[in-house]
C-alpha cells in the first residue's frame, strides 16, 4: 500500500467509524433528553403540574461549582453512582439509586470523574453532613476525618482577630482542637468557601426518574 489517497482513505475511515459510532450516535440518542417528572404517563409524557427533574442548579451553588472546578476536586472525587450489585456504591450510601444520563442534562460541565481517592459526591448533599462539618473538613480534613489524604483548603478561609462579638459564621472547632486559631482569633469562610459548601450541599440524588426509581 503505497498510494497516498488510498492510505489516507483508510486512515480517515478508521476514525470516522468510531466518531460516528460513539460520538454522533450518543449525541443522537442522548442529546435530546429533557427534564421530566418522577413518573410519566402511559405515552411517556411528563405529568401535568408535577415538578420537573433534574432541577437547574442556581445562584451560589452554581458559583460553588466553579470553585470545585478550579480546585480540581474531580481528580479525587467522582459524581456517579453505579447500580446495585456492581461495586458497593449504593451500599456505601453514596446515593439511593444509580445515576443515569438524564441526571446530568442541566450541567454545562459534566464532572463524572474517574478516580475515588475520596468518596463519591453525587449525593453528598443528601448525607447527614451540615455546612459546619463541610467547612471544618475543607479547612483541614484532619479535623473531621483523621488520616484522610485530602489536601487542606485553608486558603479559602480567613483567620482574623475577633473584633467585639465573634462572627456568626466563624468555624466551630472542636474543643482543644490543634487546628483551631489562637485565642482571640477566628476563622471565617470566604465567599468562595461559602459557595463551594453550598454547591456540595446542593448535590442530591433524592428524586426518582422514570428510568431510575428510588426503591425504598
Amino acid at each position: 500500500m503505497k498510494n497516498l489517497p488510498l492510505l489516507f482513505c483508510g486512515i480517515f475511515f478508521a476514525l470516522a467509524f468510531s466518531f460516528t459510532g460513539l460520538i454522533l450516535s450518543s449525541n443522537i440518542q442522548l442529546g435530546s433528553l429533557t427534564q421530566t417528572t418522577e413518573t410519566e404517563d402511559e405515552n411517556g409524557n411528563p405529568l401535568e403540574g408535577e415538578p420537573l427533574f433534574p432541577m437547574q442548579s442556581v445562584g451560589l451553588a452554581q458559583q460553588g461549582k466553579q470553585v470545585y472546578i478550579e480546585m480540581g476536586c474531580i481528580y479525587c472525587h467522582t459524581q456517579q453512582v453505579r447500580r446495585a450489585g456492581f461495586g458497593a456504591d449504593i451500599d456505601r450510601n453514596w446515593g439511593p439509586r444509580q445515576s443515569v444520563a438524564r441526571d446530568y442534562i442541566m450541567q454545562d460541565r459534566v464532572l463524572l470523574g474517574t478516580m475515588r481517592t475520596g468518596p463519591d459526591l453525587m449525593h453528598v448533599g443528601g448525607r447527614p453532613l451540615n455546612a459546619d462539618w463541610h467547612h471544618l473538613h475543607l479547612y483541614n480534613p484532619q479535623i473531621t476525618s483523621k488520616g484522610s489524604n485530602m489536601p487542606p483548603f485553608a486558603f479559602l478561609y480567613e483567620t482574623r482577630k475577633i473584633d467585639g462579638e465573634p462572627s456568626a459564621d466563624a468555624l466551630q472547632f472542636p474543643p482543644n482542637s490543634e487546628y483551631g486559631p489562637e485565642g482571640g482569633y477566628e476563622v471565617v469562610p470566604t465567599r468562595r468557601a461559602e459557595a463551594l459548601v453550598e454547591y456540595l450541599l446542593s448535590l442530591k440524588l433524592n428524586y426518582s426518574l422514570p428510568e431510575a426509581q428510588i426503591v425504598e
Binding site: 460520538i23 450518543s26 478550579e70 480540581g72 459534566v110
Partner: protein
C-alpha cells in the same frame, strides 16, 4: 551490569561504505531537519524536567496532604494536572515532533523543505503550552481530564499543531521513490488523527458543551485516543524504524506489521468508553468499548510477535546498544500494558480496578514504560547523527536507563497492587472509607520513592544531552556523521 561495548566493535562501525557521494544522502536529510529537531528535543527535555517536579510534588502530597498546602496554586488537583499536561503535551508532543518528524524525513528520502515552518510552529506550541500550564496552576483549569488547558491557550496549540501536521503530510506527499515503510503509515495517520480528536473534543466539551454525558463520552473517546492514536502510533513507528535499523536486519514480517497497523486503526479508537464502565451512559456504548478493548489483543500480539522475532538471536546486540536497550524495554512494555489494559476493560475486572490507583499505574505503564522509553531510545539514536558527535558519557546513559527502568517498574507494581487492594476494599461496604485510604498509604509512598529514581534518570539524561550539545568539538566524530563506537577506540572498552 556488564554492558560495556565489547569485541563486537568490528561489526559496529556504522560506516563501511567509503563512497562519500552515496553517504551524503542521509547526512543531507539529517542536516535539513537538524535545527527543528534539536529545538524540539531541547523543549521536550525542559518539559520533562518541569513535569518531573510537578509529579514529585503531587506524589508527595498524596500521602502528606499538608505539604505545600497553604496555597491554591500548589493544591493536588492543579499540580497533578500541570504534571499531566507538561508530560503529555510538553514532553510527549515535543519529542514526537523531534523524533517522529526526523524519522518521517529520513523515510521520505528527501531533504525537508520549509524547515522554518516547523520552528515557528514549535515556538507557538511551547508558548501556548506555557500559557496553558500557567493557567492551570493559576486556577483556570477546566477540570476536564486530558483537556485541562484553559480556553485562551488552546487556539495557539491548535494552530501550531496544524502547521506541524500539514508539514508532515506534505513531506510524505513529496517523498522520493515509490516505497513506503510501515513507520510512515503510523506517523502519517497519527498526524491526521490527533487534530481531529483535539478539535472535536474542544468544541463539544469546552466551546459548545454537548448535553450531559455526551461530554463524558467525547472526553474519553478523546483522552484514550491521545494514547491510542497519537502516542502509541508514534512510539510504534519509532520502534519499527529503530529495531531493524540498529540491528541491520529487516523486520521479521512486513505482512504482520500491515495487519498490526490496520487492526490498531480500527479497534483502538472505539476502546475509550471503557473508562465509563458502570457509568450513566447507554450499555451498548460501553459494550462496544469493551469489545474493542479486548480486540486490541490482536494488534498487540501481532506487533509484539513481530518485534520479538526481529530481535531473536541478537539479544546481546540489543543490550550493547543504548538505543535498543530503551526501545526494547518499551516494546516489551507495550505488550504487557496492552494485555493488562484489555483485561481491565472486562466488566468483572473493571468493577475492582475502576476509580483506583490501579488505573493511574496503568496510565504510567503505557505513557512512560512504553512511549517515553522508546522516545528516549529515539533521542539516543538521533542526536549523534544530527550533531556529528558522540554521546559524551556512557555511565550517564546507563544511569538514565537504570533510573528510569527501576523507577517505572516500582511505580507500576506499587500502584497496581495498592490499587487492586483499594478496589477490592472499596467494593466491600463493611470497610470504612478512611481505612481504605490508610491502606493505600504505603503504596503511595512507594510511588514517591519511584519518582526519585525517575528523577535521577531524567537528570542524567538532561546532563548528558546538554553536555553533548554545548561541548562543541570536544568529542566530534572523525569520520561520517555518526560515530558511536569505532575500532580505533576498542581499547577503551
Amino acid at each position: 551490569m556488564s554492558n560495556a561495548p565489547q569485541s563486537n566493535s568490528q561489526s559496529v562501525s556504522p560506516y563501511s561504505s567509503q563512497n562519500a557521494a552515496v553517504r551524503a544522502e542521509l547526512s543531507e536529510i539529517d542536516a535539513s531537519i537538524r535545527s527543528s529537531a534539536i529545538f524540539f528535543t531541547i523543549s521536550a527535555i525542559f518539559w520533562l524536567l518541569a513535569g518531573t517536579v510537578f509529579a514529585l510534588i503531587a506524589a508527595y502530597k498524596a500521602h502528606e496532604p499538608s505539604f505545600m498546602g497553604d496555597s491554591a496554586l500548589t493544591t493536588f488537583g492543579r499540580m497533578r494536572s500541570a504534571h499531566l499536561n507538561a508530560m503529555a503535551l510538553g514532553w510527549g508532543n515535543n519529542i514526537i515532533f523531534a523524533v517522529g518528524l526526523w524519522i518521517m524525513a529520513r523515510l521520505c528520502r528527501s531533504p525537508i523543505r520549509h524547515g522554518g515552518v516547523l520552528l515557528i510552529a514549535g515556538a507557538f506550541w511551547n508558548i501556548g503550552l506555557t500559557l496553558g500550564i500557567g493557567g492551570i496552576i493559576a486556577g483556570d483549569i477546566t477540570s476536564v481530564e486530558w483537556l485541562e488547558i484553559p480556553h485562551y491557550a488552546t487556539p495557539l496549540l491548535a494552530i501550531s499543531y496544524a502547521l506541524i501536521g500539514v508539514w508532515g503530510i506534505v513531506a510524505f506527499k513529496f517523498r522520493k521513490g515509490e516505497h513506503v515503510y510501515v513507520s510512515q503509515w503510523y506517523i502519517l495517520a497519527a498526524l491526521f488523527w490527533f487534530p481531529w480528536l483535539y478539535v472535536i473534543a474542544q468544541v463539544m466539551i469546552i466551546w459548545f458543551p454537548a448535553r450531559g454525558v455526551v461530554q463524558s463520552v467525547t472526553n474519553w473517546w478523546f483522552a484514550h485516543n491521545v494514547l491510542g492514536l497519537w502516542l502509541t502510533p508514534m512510539a510504534l513507528a519509532t520502534a519499527y524504524y529503530l529495531i531493524p535499523k540498529v540491528l541491520g536486519r529487516p523486520i521479521y514480517s512486513y505482512y504482520l506489521s500491515v495487519l498490526g497497523f490496520w487492526a490498531l486503526a480500527i479497534f483502538y479508537n472505539w476502546a475509550g468508553v471503557h473508562h465509563l464502565i458502570g457509568g450513566p451512559i447507554p450499555v451498548w456504548l460501553i459494550s462496544a468499548g469493551i469489545v474493542a478493548s479486548v480486540m486490541m489483543v490482536i494488534p498487540v500480539i501481532v506487533v509484539g510477535l513481530n518485534h520479538h522475532m526481529s530481535v531473536v538471536g541478537l539479544h546481546k546486540e540489543v543490550w550493547r546498544s543504548p538505543t535498543l536497550r530503551f526501545v526494547v524495554f518499551g516494546a516489551i512494555s507495550y505488550t504487557l500494558v496492552s494485555l493488562i489494559g484489555s483485561a481491565m476493560a472486562v466488566r468483572s475486572v473493571n468493577e475492582i480496578t475502576h476509580f483506583t490507583h490501579f488505573t493511574v499505574g496503568h496510565a504510567h505503564h503505557g505513557v512512560y514504560a512504553f512511549f517515553t522509553m522508546i522516545m528516549f531510545g529515539g533521542v539516543y539514536y538521533m542526536m549523534p547523527r544530527l550533531l556529528n558527535r558522540e554521546w559524551p558519557s556512557a555511565p550517564l546513559i546507563k544511569l538514565h536507563f537504570w533510573g528510569s527502568a527501576i523507577g517505572i517498574t516500582v511505580m507500576v507494581v506499587a500502584l497496581q497492587i495498592g490499587g487492586w487492594i483499594q478496589g477490592v476494599e472499596m467494593n466491600n461496604a463493611e470497610i470504612p472509607f478512611l481505612e481504605i485510604v490508610q491502606n493505600t498509604m504505603p503504596w503511595l509512598q512507594a510511588r514517591t520513592v519511584s519518582g526519585l529514581f525517575l528523577t535521577v534518570g531524567h537528570i542524567a539524561f538532561a546532563v548528558n544531552f546538554f553536555w553533548m550539545l554545548f561541548a562543541a568539538g570536544a568529542v566530534r566524530a572523525k569520520q561520517g556523521p555518526t560515530l558511536l563506537d569505532s575500532t580505533s577506540k576498542e581499547g577503551a572498552a
